[in-house]
């Protein structure tokens, strides 16, 4: 039986599972959205990913859990924090990444990483949900729109309104008051995104700026969040095609490393400048980077936002 390892990331609102092969290539992955730190969610993600991979639990060489609820995941070989796993996963997804900004449902973090995915420094939000997925849910509710519609709304906004409160609870009141003053929902959405990005910048300043920047987590799926973050960082922000699974992917890779006894950048890596010449920009041999089956296409936010500008809603 070929070597397979699994990483399981039980976050505050989603459970993610990734199975990798002995070269670090992704065999299967799943993201399951469920209740807070849901045991049912994690079971569903694990069952689904094993099903997709055509494996039984006993076929796995290692199972590593990560995420806020990592200690609740049953039958694992060990746990790693999401800090370590996101750093590792991103190093494989986007080699050369120097700064990871991960924004999930309830927390956000900035991680400075070296070329093999070792953490140089990190900072996390404490207990305030500002700037996390939860915060955007509050914004959508106050603006009476679907979460999915928030991107178009924010990207259509022009005027920069003053949004002072970054507490999820008080921000709702402030947004309602801006609406009552007759401000445009587009401007409000854009301004809140700007304020959130400024907050994220505060997190980044705690670890020090570095580039290239990679954004992961559920919020990285929001075009507006990525756009405004890039704007406030004044730097392109790369988003892997599956930004939510970088933690689980990193966990699976760490499991693989613990069996293979080494740390190197492996996995389904693609980076923007990377041409598959057998050499990665960091000088490492990329014969193991599985580019032939590459799935992760980092997105240049400037190109991306330019392209979505065309189909902006009036």
């Amino acid at each position: 039986m070929a070597l397979r390892t699994m990483g399981v990331d039980l976050g505050s609102t989603t459970a993610k599972a990734v199975v990798v092969d002995e070269a670090g290539g992704i065999v299967a992955h799943r993201v399951v959205q469920m209740g807070a730190v849901s045991r049912r969610g994690v079971a569903a993600a694990i069952d689904a990913v094993l099903d997709d991979a055509g494996l039984e639990r006993g076929d796995l060489g290692q199972v590593i859990a990560t995420g806020y609820g990592r200690r609740l995941v049953p039958d694992v070989d060990r746990t790693f924090t999401e800090i370590t796993c996101h750093a590792r996963g991103v190093a494989a997804m986007c080699p050369g990444a120097a700064l990871v900004i991960d924004i999930g449902g309830q927390d956000s973090k900035a991680i400075r990483v070296d070329e093999v995915g070792l953490v140089d420094d990190f900072a996390m939000n404490d207990r305030c949900a500002s700037g996390t997925g939860r915060f955007f849910e509050v914004l959508a509710r106050a603006l009476e729109c679907r979460l999915d519609d928030l991107d178009d709304l924010a990207l259509a906004g022009g005027q920069d309104l003053e949004v002072s409160s970054m507490c999820a609870t008080f921000a709702e009141t402030e947004i309602i008051s801006l609406l009552a003053e007759g401000e445009e929902p587009t401007d409000i959405a854009a301004s809140v995104h700007r304020a959130v990005s400024a907050r994220t910048l505060g997190l980044v300043s705690r670890v020090g700026r570095a580039a290239p920047v990679v954004m992961t987590g559920g919020v990285a799926r929001s075009r507006a969040a990525v756009h405004f973050l890039a704007e406030s960082l004044r730097a392109p922000v790369i988003v892997p095609a599956e930004p939510q699974i970088s933690g689980a992917y990193g966990a699976a890779l760490l499991g693989l490393e613990s069996l293979q006894g080494e740390t190197r950048v492996i996995g389904q890596a693609v980076d923007r400048e990377h041409v598959h010449t057998g050499q990665q920009p960091n000088g490492r041999d990329c014969s193991t980077c599985s580019l032939g089956r590459a799935k992760y296409q980092p997105i240049d936010v400037e190109l991306w936002t330019a392209s979505i500008a065309a189909d902006r809603r009036p």
Binding site: Y68, F80, I83, T84, D107, F122, D126, R127, G261, T263
Partner: protein, 386 residues
């Protein structure tokens, strides 16, 4: 389990109970509540008091919660709460010699809530390097001596003061022996047990504490086998004890605490009072020596600073990283933190800042941050070794 460690842990867990019991068995004696961090307890001991450093308690702040503003540190707000609930009535007098604004706020609340309990405030100058400082410190000590004499109604016996100094030095030396052994890897006591050693010393009758420590050292300390992956230095908290749940969390995350500069740690025991000087002059000198041995951010001294001390301590203990425990809203610490951070970064010493509060620490988030520090250090070491 070690019966002596258990006894010290019991006193550390409930200092009020010890004080009440001590008063019951010493009906003619008085208990002095001392506020951190520089008051020379030896003076009070020589005057017949049981000096007790007033500890933060574990109760939630309720009645006194609103007396001090939200931006006072957890320790001072808890002192206000203890005063509001009448918990400080077990003390016959209060003494302090430090003028952190927040501590003064707490002292004001104590004065207001217990108007009949004398409170003596000696203000030691914070600027350590001025030519006039030694004379001013000595003047302040003479003032404190006069206040102590006023509270007892009898002149301070300098022979007894010399004896108290010897006793305190003995206690500090015994504690330092354990701390040094931990730093050198000869004993592996949990950081909770280490805190209990010092905290109980701040509360107990010194002779009783010394007897227990001597017994402990002659019996030998049965310590746990550390399977820790990384060695950490704990830095900060210069007025109150970090919560033991937090200390346990560090160890639970795979770290071993090998050294510290906490008030409830090395900071309290680091400096002896010279026995070759006239006793009051020696206490005056002690104030200066202390700030050289473990510099304090509440003092300004040209030739001693905490960041230099910290990096030196880390290299001496071989700690792999530092956890900075900062009481939220502790201004002196907040102001010095950028310097600490710069010094640690310049030497590539991994560190983690943990802001503490009286209640409601987000333990799971903290676990992630501490584990991430441990993983960061251990993964780097593993890669470097491969």
């Amino acid at each position: 389990m070690n019966a002596i460690l258990d006894r010290l842990a019991e006193v550390a867990a409930d200092p009020d109970r010890y004080v009440v019991e001590w008063k019951r068995t010493h009906p003619d004696r008085k208990v002095a509540g001392v506020l951190p961090m520089n008051f020379p307890e030896e003076l009070l001991h020589a005057a017949g008091f049981l000096p007790v450093v007033i500890q933060e308690n574990n109760e939630p702040d309720t009645e006194g919660r609103v007396i001090l503003a939200e931006f006072y540190c957890g320790y001072t707000r808890n002192l206000a709460d203890q005063a509001a609930k009448g918990r400080l009535k077990i003390y016959d007098a209060f003494f302090l010699a430090d003028h952190c604004v927040q501590l003064l706020g707490a002292a004001d609340v104590m004065r207001f809530k217990q108007p009949h309990t004398p409170i003596f405030f000696g203000q030691f100058i914070a600027s350590m390097s001025e030519p006039s400082t030694p004379a001013r410190v000595r003047g302040e000590l003479d003032h404190i001596v006069a206040e102590v004499e006023r509270s007892t109604g009898v002149p301070l016996d300098h022979g007894r003061l010399a004896e108290s100094i010897r006793l305190y030095n003995r206690d500090r030396a015994l504690l330092r022996a354990v701390f040094d052994a931990r730093r050198e890897g000869r004993v592996h006591l949990s950081s909770k047990a280490m805190q209990n050693l010092v905290k109980s010393s701040m509360v107990m009758d010194k002779a009783e504490h010394i007897a227990l420590l001597e017994q402990l050292l002659s019996d030998g300390i049965e310590s746990h086998d550390p399977h820790a992956r990384v060695r950490l230095h704990l830095s900060g908290h210069f007025c109150h004890a970090p919560k033991q749940a937090l200390l346990e969390l560090f160890e639970d995350c795979g770290a071993e605490i090998v050294d510290d500069d906490l008030y409830h740690g090395r900071r309290y025991i680091t400096t002896d009072v010279r026995e070759d000087l006239e006793p009051v002059a020696a206490l005056s000198q002690w104030y200066f020596d202390r700030n050289v041995n473990v510099p304090c951010p509440t003092r300004v001294q040209h030739n001693a600073d905490w960041d230099t001390y910290l990096t030196k301590a880390v290299s001496e203990s071989g700690a792999d990283g530092v956890v900075i425990l900062m009481a939220k809203f502790c201004e002196p610490h907040m102001l010095l933190y950028p310097e600490l951070r710069k010094a640690l970064e310049a030497r590539e010493i991994p560190y983690l800042l943990v802001e503490t509060e009286h209640a409601g620490l987000p333990m799971e988030t903290l676990r992630t941050r501490v584990e991430a520090l441990v993983e960061r250090i251990s993964r780097r070491a593993a890669v470097a070794a491969s």
